[in-house]
């Protein structure tokens, strides 16, 4: 009945959705931001620890959401650790492009490996009402890096 949905719900997504990585609070975060999707009640809180060089030394999240928003946040935490703010912003931009259109032709070669790991989420572009689920964590990341506290994917 749902076979054609295996494109959207690939095993990676179901796995990260069920067992999100870095799903905890950071004790002494340098930055936090909350993301809200008022339409469906998804809500996440993202915590960043910055290194001496301003890069992302540690990242974790908490909250509740659907499989897609949880998997997206979980993958985010795995990918942005160790990046500079500029690199993280660039990845967030690339991911938004991927979620909305299914590809990111403009993405730099330096992002290729990360984009490859995010590829399983590209299927959301066929589900306009679900794109926001996938991008919520990334909006929240941008907000945390920019020092604003609240963001909404509406």
């Amino acid at each position: 009945m749902f076979d054609d949905l295996r494109d959207l719900y690939q095993e990676v997504i179901l796995d990260h959705g069920r067992k999100p990585r870095n799903f905890r609070r950071l004790d002494d975060p340098d930055r936090t931001a909350r993301g809200d999707n008022p339409m469906c009640g998804d809500r996440i809180e993202l915590f960043l620890k910055l290194g001496a060089d301003g890069g992302i030394a540690d990242v974790a999240f908490q909250g509740r959401g659907c499989a897609i928003s949880t998997a997206s946040a979980s993958l985010l935490t795995e990918l942005v650790k160790g990046k500079t703010a500029a690199q993280a912003h660039a990845l967030a931009d690339g991911f938004r492009q991927l979620a909305m259109t299914g590809t990111c032709p403009a993405c730099e070669a330096a992002l290729a490996d990360d984009m490859e790991r995010l590829q399983p989420l590209s299927g959301v572009h066929e589900f306009p009402s679900r794109v926001k689920c996938a991008t919520l964590a990334w909006h929240t990341l941008n907000a945390a890096l920019d020092g604003s506290k609240e963001t909404s994917s509406e």
Binding site: M1, F2, D4, L5, L8, Y9, L14, R18, M39, C40, G41, D42, R64, G65, C66, A67, I68, F127, S129, R130, C133
Partner: protein, 408 residues
């Protein structure tokens, strides 16, 4: 008399549609219902043959359009068994109807310090206007509790009316999330005994059972055309004339005045006083056709059919492992909100969509109610219309079992 479902379904052009190669199973009528051919045709005929602005031109077409618009008012009055068509005010939807009462009657008649009693069962449309009135006009907003079964806690209603400070009770006649039908007659008696007026949000109830204004004895009753198989853009506020007389206008403009100078204007008599500007003429004609349609089937027959659907859904849904249903009210209509243990509401709705099943996921404009029942995210809601079949409910149940396996 029972409904002939295959004939009825043929009356609704959209239902014969396939979506991505699957038969459409439309289980979101609680959000907005589909339209029968007669409604569509009536609106087309209005625009092709009998359309002009109303209440204005001394020419045949305008008179014909005015006649049709006022006939729609008469049809609504008949549908509600109102004692006078002037009790029927056309609005844009229920939301506007409730805002009209809050703004006009609320500011014009309620005194600061008086209270408005709503309940935990309310749709945002029957919460926010009263919060706005509270903030602008200094009234107190009280909220009657719902029981764990999702029924209105009548003792709590009584307790919150006991000090006589409530000037208005504003309560849903049927919850758009739990399906709970509230004990309307009893609430009218309680409100009046406490010296309060009473408004019902009938957005859901008026669609599923016969409502009778003369028998009910309420003060205000709101419903919305698009849930009653009519078009969007038209709703109804039924209000007793004695209240309308005391209410200042809501919006100002054309059609709602009897004389205008730059110094002062005189208001037109009710209900025109509350219908400023060019009204939803075509939509009123569509609503009239919808009312004729459900009346010809018979509200009693519709209610019986929907009761069978509710019983069937109750059996099928409660059988599903991991499914928890919000609310178990004794008296309920065809609205079922639930969660499934391992699947988020949004994921579930996407899955069901792929099977051709249209349901809603989220909090259904009733966030406090979801909080009350400890549901932080959202629920999936399946809601029925007069065209819903038991087969569709079976299909939903099978899809839910498979969805659970999918996410296991």
């Amino acid at each position: 008399m029972s409904l002939d479902l295959s004939r009825i379904r043929a009356d609704f052009p959209i239902l014969s549609q396939q979506i991505r190669g699957k038969d459409l199973v439309f289980l979101d009528s609680g959000a907005s219902a589909q339209k029968p051919r007669v409604v569509i045709d009536a609106m087309i005929r209005c625009m092709e043959q009998r359309y002009a602005n109303v209440h204005r031109g001394a020419y045949w077409l305008s008179e014909a359009a005015t006649e049709d618009y006022e006939a729609a008012r008469g049809a609504v009055a008949g549908f509600l068994n109102a004692s006078d068509p002037r009790e029927v005010i056309f609005t844009k939807n229920s939301t506007e109807a409730i805002n009209l009462v809050a703004h006009s009657w609320g500011r014009g008649v309620l005194r600061p310090g008086q209270a408005v009693l709503i309940s935990e069962l309310e749709h945002h449309a029957n919460i926010i206007p009263w919060q706005m009135l509270r903030d602008a006009h200094g009234i107190e907003l009280r909220v009657a509790r719902a029981t764990d079964a999702g029924e209105l806690d009548i003792e709590d209603v009584a307790a919150k009316l006991a000090d006589g400070k409530a000037g208005l009770v504003a309560i849903t006649h049927m919850s758009n999330v739990l399906g709970t039908v509230t004990p309307a007659e009893r609430l009218v008696a309680m409100a009046h005994a406490a010296g309060a007026r009473i408004l019902f949000d009938g957005s859901q109830a008026a669609v599923h059972r016969r409502v009778d204004m003369q028998a009910l004895g309420a003060d205000f009753y709101a419903f919305t055309g698009h849930k009653l198989y009519g078009p969007t853009g038209i709703g109804v506020l039924w209000a007793r004339l004695e209240h309308q007389e005391r209410m200042p206008p809501f919006l100002g403009g054309g059609d709602m005045i009897s004389s205008v100078t730059f110094e002062r204007s005189e208001w037109a008599p009710p209900p025109a006083k509350f219908e400023a500007g060019t009204p939803a003429i075509v939509e009123a004609v569509g609503l009239h056709a919808a009312i004729d349609y459900v009346s010809a089937l018979g509200m009693a027959a519709i209610e019986t059919h929907e009761r069978d659907l509710v019983d069937h859904a109750m059996r099928r849904l409660t059988d599903i492992e991991g499914l928890s249903l919000l609310g178990r009210a004794q008296d309920r209509g065809g609205v079922f909100a639930f969660t499934l243990d391992n699947a988020h509401a949004h994921d579930l709705a996407t899955l069901l969509d792929r099977a051709g099943i249209a349901v809603r996921a989220g909090r259904h404009c009733a966030e406090p109610l979801h909080t009350r029942f400890g549901v932080e995210g959202g629920t999936v809601r399946a809601s029925f219309g007069l065209y819903t079949t038991q087969g569709e409910i079976d299909f939903l149940a099978e899809a839910l079992v498979k969805a659970r396996e999918f996410f296991a």
